[in-house]
């Protein structure tokens, strides 16, 4: 658990970050909260001759709310999210999810950007961002660009972000209606055995629109359009929920690990989604 030697950089603005990335190419990686990258370096599974720490870049730290449009800087921590009363008011699912990530010590350091950008299938924010149809803001040598969270994840640790790009913020329209983030894990600090992010809008006692995304049940987060569609026009009765679960099960592709075999994960995914939908519906 001793990393190979590396140079440590701590630029004070994004221009500095981009310049370093340009200079060192594949030899450089940016560091946010460090909960993924530092263990990988200690295990010598990631060799990073140039580590670029983003801690000193103030522009990455803000949470801004403009009407229903929410923009969260990449270096905002889960702890910040949990304690941001205005954000909790407009998008309470952010707090509900953050409270289910690891433990307070991790949340003091763990950032939204690190959680979203890395493409780790175990992370909770990618599924949530897909559920919320968030936009990811990237900056690189050629300027800025935006990528939809639903288009960002390609495979485990493989994303639409180029090597010399940095995620600077995420933004989304705060959903109205009911919401839920439901997660089963073996213990505090563990990744999900299965987790579900659900938002539901209603009209006249029926679901008018919904969004459903699942965490750690494939090598990428799974936004299940078919599962959400199965709810639209229903009152979230048992049959509708069952249809949504079946649709979701067609979209996930879990693998066996120490959390259990595939059959167990698929079963739990169905239970967790059922509970998430039920809670979101109750809140809608």
């Amino acid at each position: 658990m001793i990393p190979a030697s590396f140079d440590y950089h701590r630029p004070s603005d994004m221009d500095g970050v981009i310049a370093l990335l340009k200079e060192h190419g594949d030899d450089a990686r940016v560091l946010a909260g460090g909960h993924s990258l530092i263990p990988m370096m200690k295990l010598r599974m990631a060799e990073v001759p140039h580590l670029i720490d983003l801690q000193s870049i103030e522009s990455l730290r803000g949470i801004s709310i403009n009407g229903s449009r929410v923009t969260i800087g990449a270096m905002v921590t889960q702890h910040d999210i949990i304690n941001h009363s205005e954000l909790t008011k407009v998008a309470p699912i952010m707090r509900e999810t953050s409270l289910q990530i690891a433990d307070p010590q991790v949340r003091y350091m763990g950032t939204v950007g690190g959680n979203v950008a890395n493409g780790d299938p175990g992370n909770d924010m990618p599924g949530l961002m897909q559920c919320l149809d968030a936009t990811l803001h990237l900056v690189g040598p050629d300027g800025t660009r935006e990528v939809a969270a639903r288009d960002y994840y390609e495979a485990a640790y493989v994303t639409a972000r180029e090597e010399d790009e940095v995620l600077t913020a995420i933004s989304f329209d705060a959903p109205s209606g009911g919401y839920s983030y439901e997660k089963q894990k073996r213990k505090i600090g563990d990744y999900a055995t299965a987790a579900a992010a659900v938002t539901i809008q209603t009209s006249g006692g029926k679901v008018s629109s919904a969004s459903i995304a699942m965490t750690n049940l494939s090598d990428v987060p799974v936004w299940s359009e078919a599962a959400a569609d199965a709810l639209v026009g229903t009152a979230c009765d048992a049959d509708a929920i069952k249809a949504a679960v079946n649709a979701m099960l067609d979209d996930i592709d879990p693998t066996e690990d120490n959390r259990g075999p595939v059959a167990f994960k698929r079963h739990v995914a169905g239970i967790i989604l059922t509970r998430a939908i039920t809670r979101a519906w109750d809140r809608a």
């Binding site: 001793i2 213990k187 167990f264 079963h267």
Partner: protein
């Protein structure tokens, strides 16, 4: 005991002696980051060692090329077996009478095995150089299943392939280590063959690991000018380490000083001798510089001593109305690549023959077969006396299975089979003499405290509601009644590598009435500095706050066998009390002289000697201490010191009654512990607060083991649970609010009646949690499921029983 007057009450309270919840004196430094652990030892010019470890579970080593590593600036040496062979240190003896490779000698036998030891100027250079050592392996067939090992043509231990006789008798196969038996085989088979009812079950007690907060490590410093070797290390038995180091190295024992500094938890993991210790010592002797070795968490989990890994098959015989008549137990014990169990030498399966438990079972037989596999060596007693957790788990599961067979309540089945109070001292069928117990009183108290009948009623209602489809949650009631066997042990049958398992205490009273006492044990978090001072305070009448307790430095402490198996209070605690009594005996002579009366005219009164019938005439211990050093007393040597070596006449047998109430989500396998009640009887209670802390800690480790903690291997011998992501360590979040209770049944043979408590909650807790899970499914036909009961395995149980619709 007569009632104390107001003055006596005040003087007694001032001592903070036995029975007082004195705050832990250690915690001032621990809570402020001022502890002194082995990794805090920093010496001028100190070098750092790191291991090249095998990625394979079984492979031949064709070559090792160290040249690239040696070329790194700052690398001082790279040791391999070839370098250690001339010193005859490439192998070392284990505590179990086997031998173990220090560095891989021709082949590797488990993943994570030590292959080469890099020594460098700093820790980072050492880690870099480890990457550059090139080892050419030829993979060999891997065996991770002990039953397969006993059938396989693959020879794991080529070094002893032809040895028909092992350290503990004949070997049946080249992968077989020993067969150990206790009790009467023919008589037991006869009872079982003719019994009205027999219940049979096979249970796997999975491999796990003690995982102390602080990993293992050592710093060795060879002073070549003076010929002195000093070794700081994570040693639960520093004096034994010194003796072993002397025997191995040829350095005379007086020239070796072993120091166990503060230790961040042991739980059995720090009893054995590891290759890292040996390599740091050899490297220091070779380089003449201090060498530090500290393992990381993954190394700790992969390579240092594991616990359990017992396949146990039981047959229990009873009459139709539930009186147990016989017990048969066979164990296939997976010891990994080397037999490095840390047990008293004559007990290769520890005290597994306590497996008749708390029950009056007239006839019994136990046989244990030890087997080699391609897993890490070890077999330590993780927070229990030697293999007692396995034994108690076995009998407490067998009782539950028998209750199912008899269609009887498991609490009642226990009650009608308990050893009765008037049967103590009790001779068990497997050879132990239980010292004291009052099981019925403890059991009744426990069942009443939890409203056992009410719980069963609620459980039955829950089952009905479940069947009606009104709930998806089931309720389990876990019961366990355990008897521990601790305080090893009588020298006549307990030794480690020939060294009798006595322990010791040496006391010096200072002239102003304070004291230092040194013991042969070593605290790893148990709070010895607090509790042993309390024993002494009560014995010698000086305040505990005026008594320093010191352990762990072999140059200053008297010889002792260390701390494990809950032996500190039963053995060293007894030595402390007896040394204190020697002090008091001399103090009485001094007081008699000062008061100008005969010795027999004095009586002891809390902190002083008083002339009988004249309470105004007395000498306090403080006064006596001053006189001992400063007044010429005819016929009495100056000074006030004593030493006592205590060879216990018997083990002690703490016991307890535990109840766990658990809710289980049938759909997800998630268990929630609603309630956990723990009644412990550890005899005389020295510090109730520390006992309670021990119970909380031991129960939490029991919860971990029962509900998820394991060292799992795949078929290739790869460790699947090598980090804390997968190796379950519970946090405060997963732990319930424990309710603690007690009864007090003193040990009749111990000077203060104390029995030891540190491991009881683990021993009793594991079957209690496991029984709760199994009990939840009893109404649906479940008999037994293996631990660990993590979510997916519980889900699987429900699934197999058809509870998922």
């Amino acid at each position: 005991m007569k009632d104390l007057n107001e003055d006596q009450v005040a003087r007694s309270a001032n001592l903070k002696g036995m029975g007082c919840s004195r705050k832990r004196v250690e915690d001032a430094r621990f809570t402020q980051g001022k502890g002194n652990y082995v990794d805090d030892v920093k010496l001028p010019g100190m070098l750092h060692g790191d291991f090249v470890r095998s990625p394979y579970a079984h492979a031949r080593i064709k070559s090792i090329d160290t040249s690239k590593a040696m070329a790194v600036d700052g690398v001082i040496a790279v040791l391999t077996a070839a370098d250690l062979a001339p010193l005859n240190l490439h192998w070392m003896p284990t505590l179990a009478g086997d031998k173990q490779m220090v560095l891989a000698d021709g082949k590797v036998l488990f993943q994570g095995q030590e292959v080469a030891f890099v020594v460098a100027k700093d820790r980072f250079i050492a880690a870099d150089a480890v990457e550059l050592v090139e080892v050419d392996y030829e993979e060999l067939p891997v065996i991770v299943n002990p039953f397969e090992a006993l059938q396989s043509d693959v020879v794991l231990r080529e070094d002893i392939a032809d040895q028909k006789e092992g350290a503990h008798g004949p070997r049946k196969h080249h992968n077989h280590i020993f067969t150990w038996e206790a009790g009467e085989e023919a008589a037991t088979n006869d009872v079982i063959d003719n019994a009205e009812v027999v219940a049979t079950e096979t249970m796997y007690y999975h491999r796990t690991h003690p995982c102390p907060l602080e990993t293992c490590g050592s710093v060795a410093s060879m002073d070549k000018v003076n010929g002195k070797l000093t070794v700081w290390g994570t040693f639960q038995a520093p004096h034994v380490v010194r003796t072993v180091a002397s025997l191995l190295s040829g350095i005379e024992e007086h020239n070796i000083r072993v120091i166990s500094p503060d230790i961040g938890g042991g739980f059995g993991n720090k009893v054995g001798v590891y290759p890292g210790y040996v390599c740091s010592i050899v490297a220091s002797i070779v380089t003449g510089k201090p060498v530090k070795w500290i393992e990381d968490r993954m190394e700790n989990l992969m390579s240092t001593a594991f616990a359990r890994d017992y396949w146990m098959t039981g047959k229990i015989a009873a009459t139709k109305d539930g009186k147990i008549t016989g017990l048969h137990c066979h164990v296939t014990a997976d010891h990994g690549a080397f037999d490095a169990c840390a047990d008293p030498t004559k007990f290769p399966a520890g005290f597994m023959n306590i497996c008749t438990g708390s029950y009056d079972i007239p006839t019994a037989y136990l046989a244990v077969d030890g087997v080699y596999t391609n897993k890490a060596p070890g077999g330590v007693s993780y927070r229990c006396s030697f293999r007692v957790t396995e034994a108690v788990y076995f009998i407490e599961r067998m009782i539950e299975v028998l209750a199912i067979e008899l269609n009887m309540d498991a609490a009642e089945l226990r009650r009608i089979n308990f050893i009765k109070k008037d049967q103590f001292p009790y001779q068990s069928a497997l050879g132990w003499e239980y010292d004291s117990g009052d099981y019925h009183t403890a059991w009744d108290k426990a069942l009443k405290a939890v409203d056992y009948e009410g719980l069963r009623k609620e459980q039955a209602e829950r089952v009905e509601a479940f069947k009606r489809g009104e709930t998806r949650s089931l309720m389990g009631i876990g019961l366990s009644f355990f008897t521990e066997i601790v305080g090893a042990g009588p020298v006549k049958n307990c030794d480690i590598l020939g060294m009798g398992m006595f322990d010791s205490c040496e006391i010096r009273i200072h002239p102003t009435g304070s004291a230092i006492a040194r013991l042969g044990t070593i605290s790893q978090g148990q709070g010895h500095a607090t509790t042993f001072a309390q024993i002494l305070a009560s014995e010698i009448g000086l305040p505990a706050d005026s008594i320093t307790i010191e352990e762990g430095d072999t140059d200053t402490a008297p010889y002792g066998l260390g701390t494990y198996g809950s032996r500190s209070t039963p053995v060293a605690g007894a030595a402390t009390a007896l040394a204190g009594r020697k002090i008091r005996a001399k103090a009485q002579m001094i007081a008699a002289y000062l008061l100008e009366v005969h010795d027999d005219d004095l009586e002891w009164d809390i902190d002083r000697f008083v002339v009988k019938g004249a309470p105004e005439r007395f000498k306090t211990m403080k006064e006596i201490a001053y006189a001992a050093y400063n007044q010429a007393i005819p016929g009495v040597e100056p000074g006030l010191e004593a030493v006592s070596y205590y060879d216990p006449p018997n083990m002690t047998y703490p016991f307890g009654a535990y109840v766990c109430v658990m809710d289980i989500d049938v759909d997800t396998g998630v268990q929630t512990i609603r309630r956990f009640y723990a009644l412990d009887d550890c005899g005389t209670r020295i510090n109730p607060m520390i006992i309670e802390g021990q119970v909380h800690g031991g129960l939490t480790e029991a919860l971990a083991v029962a509900l998820g903690q394991e060292i799992a291997y795949d078929d290739m011998g790869n460790v699947k649970t090598g980090t804390l992501m997968d190796f379950f360590l519970p946090t405060a979040w997963e732990v319930p609010n424990y309710e603690t209770d007690h009864t007090v049944t003193p040990s009749p043979h111990h000077p203060i009646g104390a029995k030891g408590v540190g491991e009881s909650p683990h021993v009793g807790g594991v079957p209690c949690f496991s029984n709760a899970v199994n009990d939840a499914f009893r109404a649906f036909g479940n008999r037994h499921t293996h631990m660990p009961h993590d979510h997916w395995r519980i889900w699987q149980t429900a699934n197999k029983l058809g509870l998922h619709g």
